[in-house]
Symmetry: C2
C-alpha cells in the first residue's frame, strides 16, 4: 500500500503538487525557483496546490542535484563569552538575510586536532564556507592549512596574511586608550594583557607599547590573564602592591572588573588613586563601581561584516587566486573610546 501523499502528516512531494495543479513536476520546479516563461495563471494554480498540500521542497534532493547546501559553518572556541556570543548572533542575522543556514561547531581544546575535527565535522555537513570565532594564533594557523577545501574567514580578529576576516582595529583602540590616560597626566600606564597566543591580545599589547613608546615613557612589565574576571583580580593583587601604578589599561572589561575588585578590597579608590580602562564595553560596564571607561567594539557588526566577507568568497566563482583579491581580505571596524568614571587625573595633580 503506497503512502497517501496528501494525507495529513505525510510530506507531499513535487509530483503531488504537479498532479494537483495539473502540470508537470518541472513546471512546479520552475514556479518554485522563479524561473521565467510560466504563464501567470499556471503559476497561480501551482502556488495554490503548494499551499493546499503544505508542500515543502526536499532539501536533500535539491542539494544533491544543485551541489549547494546553502549552509555556512561557524566554529567558535568559547562561545559562552560575551564577545563570541554576540558575534555569533551577528553572523546568524547576516546569514539569514543572505539566504544561508548556519551550523555550529565548537572547539573542544585549542589544538590542531580539535581544529581538524571541527572542520571535518562541518565539511561532512557540506557547508559552503566557515567563519571562525577563535583567534588564537595557533588556531588560525591550523585553519589556514585547511584552506582550499572550503572558504574561511576569521571574525573578531584578523590575520590577513593567513585568512580574510573582520575585526576592530585593536592597535588603534589600545593606542587611543593609553594616549588618553597619558593626557590625563599619568607618568605611564600599566597593562593587563590577554592570553599571549591571542591575536587580539597581541594587538592590544602592541598598541599599548606603541603609545608609550611614542612619548618615550617607561614600559612597565605587563601582566597577562585569560580574559576572565578572576585572572584580572589576580593581576590586580599584584598591581596594587606597585605604588607606581596609577593607570591600568586592561585588555578586556572582565579583567578590568577583577582589577577594580582588587583595588576596592584594600580601599584604593578608583579613579582618585588609580585609573582603570577596559576594552569591549560589555553592557555591564556602565554599571560597575565605578562605571568603566573602555574601548567599545561592536561585536554584532563584526559578525555581520565577517559573514559578508565569507559570502563574497563563497559566491565568487574563482577561488584559485587566493590572496590576490584585494579589498575583500579584511574588514576593519573602528573602535570607540567611551569615557566613564573609572579614569581620571593621577593622585596629586
Amino acid at each position: 500500500m503506497p503512502a497517501d501523499r496528501t494525507a495529513h502528516g505525510v510530506q507531499a512531494v513535487m509530483a503531488d503538487v504537479a498532479a494537483l495543479a495539473g502540470v508537470s513536476h518541472q513546471t512546479v520546479s520552475r514556479v518554485l525557483n522563479d524561473r521565467p516563461n510560466v504563464r501567470p495563471a499556471t503559476r497561480e494554480r501551482v502556488l495554490a496546490a503548494v499551499r493546499e498540500l503544505d508542500y515543502r521542497p526536499n532539501a536533500a534532493a535539491r542539494m544533491l542535484v544543485t551541489r549547494r547546501s546553502r549552509t555556512l559553518g561557524v566554529i567558535s572556541f568559547d562561545s559562552a563569552l560575551y564577545g563570541p556570543a554576540q558575534m555569533l548572533h551577528g553572523i546568524e542575522q547576516a546569514a539569514r538575510s543572505a539566504g544561508y543556514f548556519v551550523s555550529i561547531a565548537s572547539l573542544r581544546y585549542q589544538d590542531v586536532r580539535s581544529v581538524r575535527e571541527a572542520v571535518d565535522r562541518l565539511r561532512d555537513q557540506a557547508v559552503e564556507g566557515i567563519a571562525v570565532i577563535a583567534s588564537q594564533a595557533l588556531t588560525v594557523a591550523a585553519f589556514a592549512q585547511r584552506i582550499g577545501t572550503v572558504p574561511m574567514v576569521t571574525v573578531g580578529a584578523i590575520d590577513p596574511a593567513r585568512l580574510p576576516g573582520a575585526g576592530v582595529d585593536n592597535l588603534v583602540g589600545a593606542e587611543a586608550a593609553v594616549r588618553y590616560l597619558l593626557d590625563l597626566g599619568h607618568e605611564t600606564v600599566h597593562h593587563v594583557a590577554g592570553p599571549a597566543d591571542w591575536l587580539e591580545a597581541n594587538a592590544r599589547e602592541a598598541g599599548w607599547r606603541n603609545a608609550l613608546g611614542a612619548r618615550s615613557r617607561r614600559v612597565p612589565d605587563s601582566l597577562s590573564g585569560d580574559w576572565s574576571s578572576r585572572s584580572g583580580y589576580e593581576a590586580g593583587l599584584r598591581l596594587r602592591r606597585d605604588s607606581s601604578a596609577t593607570a591600568i589599561f586592561c585588555a578586556n572589561d572582565h579583567m578590568a572588573l577583577g582589577v577594580l575588585r582588587a583595588f576596592h578590597e584594600i580601599g584604593r579608590r578608583v579613579p582618585e588613586d588609580v585609573s582603570v580602562v577596559g576594552f569591549d564595553d560589555i553592557p555591564e560596564a556602565a554599571f560597575l563601581a565605578p562605571p568603566l571607561t573602555t574601548v567599545r567594539q561592536d561585536f554584532g557588526e563584526l559578525g555581520r561584516r565577517g559573514l559578508e566577507l565569507l559570502v563574497h568568497h563563497v559566491e565568487t566563482p574563482d577561488p584559485r587566486k587566493k590572496g590576490t583579491t584585494v579589498g575583500h581580505q579584511a574588514a576593519i571596524v573602528a573602535p570607540e573610546l567611551v569615557l566613564r568614571a573609572s579614569s581620571g587625573r593621577p593622585p596629586g595633580r
Copy 2:
C-alpha cells in the same frame, strides 16, 4: 571530458572508491555503515581506497534516501546573554556526542510570526528536532502549536504542560534565597523581577512570594526589569528611596549588579545597610563590589539535559502518544545558593 574524480580538489564518490578497491559500490556502502558480512580483507581494501581518495560520503545523497538529516535546530531569542550562550554551548556538546549536527536560528522579535519563521526556516533544513532557548510564555505557546511537525523541547525553563524541557527549579531556588535572607533577620525581602512574560521570571517571583507567605511576612510591591543591568539600576533608584528595603532579591545577577550600583552611588553600603542577592551566578559575580550572593544554575548542564531529552523524543519510534510518556517530559536541575559578601544581617541587629 568527464571530471577526473581522483584529481585533487574534486570530491571522489562511492563508485570511485569501489573501482579502486575492486568491489561494488554496495560493498563500500556496507563497510562505511559497519554492516556485517564483509570479509576483513575486503573491508581493509575498501578503507585503504577511502583514505587514498580522501573520500567523504555525500550528505545530501545519504539524507535523501535515509530521510534523516542528523541535524537538530536551536532557536534562541537573545543568544548574546550569558545564560543562553552557555546553554547553546551545552547543547552543541551534547549534540555532537549524540551524533547530531546543530543548526541555529534566532528569533527576531518575540512574536508569533517570528516563531513561525524560525520554525519554518529550520524545517526547510530538515532538522529532526528543535530545542528552544526562549521562555517567554507567549513564545512557548506559539511553539507548542507547531508541535506535531517536529519534536521540540525547551531549555532553560520548563512548562511541562506544553512542551518537554530542561530547567532549574526556579521556585525552589528563589525560596531558598528569600528564606536565607529572612533567617538573617530581615523583616521582609524586596524583589526585582524579570519580564512578566518569562517563565523563569514568574517562577522566581512565585518562589519569593511563597517564602514570604510561609512566614507571614509583608509582601512588598515587586519591581520588574528586563534582565539588563540598566533595568536593575533603574529599579535600584526606586528601592533606595524606600528605607524599609533592607534585603533585595533580584531575578538575575545582571539586574543585581545594577541595584548594587544604585546603592553605591548614594553611599548606602552593601551588605551593612542593605543585602542584595542575585540569580544565575555569572562568572563575574564573585568579583563585584561586594561579591554577590546568588543562586547558581548550571547552564551548560541544562543545555546537555535538554538535548538528551530532545534526542530521546527524536529517536523514540512512536510520537503519537505525546503527553503520556512520563519521565521524559522534564529534567529539573537543582539550583544552589552561593553565599558571598553582598548579604548580611539587617542594620541594627
